[in-house]
Symmetry: C2
Subunit: 453 residues, 2 copies
Amino acid sequence: MPLPTPRRMSWIACLPEFAAGRDTPEAFLDRCLANLETFEPQVGAFVHIEIAAARAQAQAATARWRAGAPLSRIDGMPVGIKDLIETADMPTQCGSPVYEGWRSERDAASVLALRQAGAVILGKTVTTEFAAKVPRGTRNPWDPARTPGGSSSGSAAAVGCGMLPVALGTQVIGSLLRPASYCGAYAFKPTFGAINRGGSHDALSQSAHGPIAATLADAWVTAREIADRAGGDPGYPGLLGPAELPAVRRPACVAVIETPGWKVADAAARALFEQAVAKLAADGVKVINRANHRGVALLETMLERAGYVSHALVNYESVWPLNAYRARDPGKLSGFLRDRLVEAEKMTPAEYRALLTERTAARAAHAALAGDCDALLTLCATGVAPLGIEATGDTVFNIPASYLGAPALNLPAFMLDGLPLGLQAIGPVDGDAGLFSVAGWIDAALASGVPGA
Amino acid sequence: MPLPTPRRMSWIACLPEFAAGRDTPEAFLDRCLANLETFEPQVGAFVHIEIAAARAQAQAATARWRAGAPLSRIDGMPVGIKDLIETADMPTQCGSPVYEGWRSERDAASVLALRQAGAVILGKTVTTEFAAKVPRGTRNPWDPARTPGGSSSGSAAAVGCGMLPVALGTQVIGSLLRPASYCGAYAFKPTFGAINRGGSHDALSQSAHGPIAATLADAWVTAREIADRAGGDPGYPGLLGPAELPAVRRPACVAVIETPGWKVADAAARALFEQAVAKLAADGVKVINRANHRGVALLETMLERAGYVSHALVNYESVWPLNAYRARDPGKLSGFLRDRLVEAEKMTPAEYRALLTERTAARAAHAALAGDCDALLTLCATGVAPLGIEATGDTVFNIPASYLGAPALNLPAFMLDGLPLGLQAIGPVDGDAGLFSVAGWIDAALASGVPGA
């Protein structure tokens, strides 16, 4: 049976209704479950789901809202957790036979924070094998013949079609923003370190946790509620900014960065992006680029090797625990990961250090731009979700923000051949709140191409 | 039965004998096991031990040495692993009922590196509860009526009496250097990030892994063999320096820092330290201190609150996973940890950020001193190991190096009333190798007061 057109479903938009007693978390969950019933059989966003427990929690939250005493703005909000992140009451399987049926019996820091805020953990969403490249069968709700992207495949697919208003994901290369682009959802990859990764299996030097969400408000408020309770990674300041969605602000200047992705992007995708930039310029936003600004040209030069360096860093940092899993049972790792491990083991500490230094230099070039523009803009993917579910698409446009440790957003601003495509906005490190301000303005100026909210 | 005088036992000192075929890893292990038989019943350094497996591994290593093809300089070396660090073939219990009988079924990054180098994991050494304050019964091999210190209690006790040449420990406040001082062993707390902590339960912003060892050479070579294979923490350069123990070098200048510990140190301990400094000065080493050098005075000022700030940071960063364990079963946490958790939960992200900033400023003051002196010297504890095993002693002298993220060594240089007491040398961040050079010279100049090697 053909699927209906996916629509996102915002939790934050319902807050006035909850407060007024005209809507309830229970009813909201029912709407999510209706979408789940429609889409999940063909999409496969979840690897584990606990409907009865979720209903009971939504009921409790409903009672708190009725009593005028919700635990937080997300009390009762259904949320999905990427299956790389530990949950006390559900298995954490990391998309790998190594972790089949494994239960840590503890909540990750972010998950416990969500529970403390009253959020309802509906289930675990599909991740590729250890958040790398090998997919685990999830399909795109816009077209089940297409990939939802990865590695946060299930989180993007579930939010894109309103099974959930928010789902947590992780990104070390392109795992939040690209699937959000393919599935027509917002995604927020915070500044490196801004959300505590304790209890998640992505202890890598450019990995970050963030929400895939129905709206910018759902993304911001969820990230905020987590960070207020769980903080950032040890030694990092954690997410900075106000409790509510930062007020919309017209950017004075944006920098267009083409990145190495530009050369391989679809012509139609590039055209949509260029139209959007022209619209912003027509609205009075100054646009700088490699041709007219030396700082942008320098950053683009520093980003030329970002893909190579990012992958090399991540592979080196992934030697453990993959070598420990290989020691136990090599047959439980994919051939892809086994080969990558053998390659990574050839790298020396000195080579790793040289690559870290190169990344640090790129970050300095990005920081130097912060005074000259409010955000960097680029595409979020080379085009719409590709056909087939054996691969998760090209990460090339997602690498820069991961490499720079910078906050980034996917805005589901475009539609192309009936499929969503995202605009990416990247802010300065620790400028997450400011990024939301200008991205909110840009999103409204472009009038979202993807239905939802 | 009274225990004999503890003696450390160096592995590295035996390398020429192994190479010449006059000694073997099997015979070395037998000597360790003889000491274990003598001391362990009264000391209780181990929480888990695998003698048969260790013998088999030592036998295999012996064959490799005989064939002239050892895997590394530590092929066949018996080593103990603090029970906070995961091991594939033994439980990891973190000194807590929460982890009773728990098996991760994977080796931590450092443990796998040790195995790849051929080291023989003899057992898991006792840690206090989650490496905090509540001890687990280990006694000091110099006097079983006294604490061995903590939290790396078992590692220090085992190395101090030659049950092992090396054992891994961790230090976030004072958990490597203080027990080494009390037990008469060398200890090396590397620069923050220098040794990969993957698979260990101490993901805190000033925690580091390091060896407690029979000699400086055992410490350096072990750290080097681990770091060569496992690298540092993700995003950090890892341990810098040569493969072999850095050559001894007379320091041009050392800075004496009194730290907040000075006021509470035993007069006899202070006198021993002052005699040692006088000896260095007589040997031509320039000595600077708060009275004659503004940089030292500034650093001492910045260290006045190091204890308060370190504990507050660590407590905030420990909210997770302790809150997850409390959610499961509060009865499995000590009253001490439960109380500490409640206190830590009151801290806001803004307060945490302010304390991080304060620590960063102290680190800058320390970095500024690097050009003016080769090392900072101070005591490693307020005195010898205190009587009683209900507490693990005063951490006050260990806090500065942890707080500064700087490399530090305990040199078992003094004896007081028949008990060991350590001299502490602290180097600049990433100056681990240089610290070994000057500490080696100092150690020889003072002629170690504690028998061993």
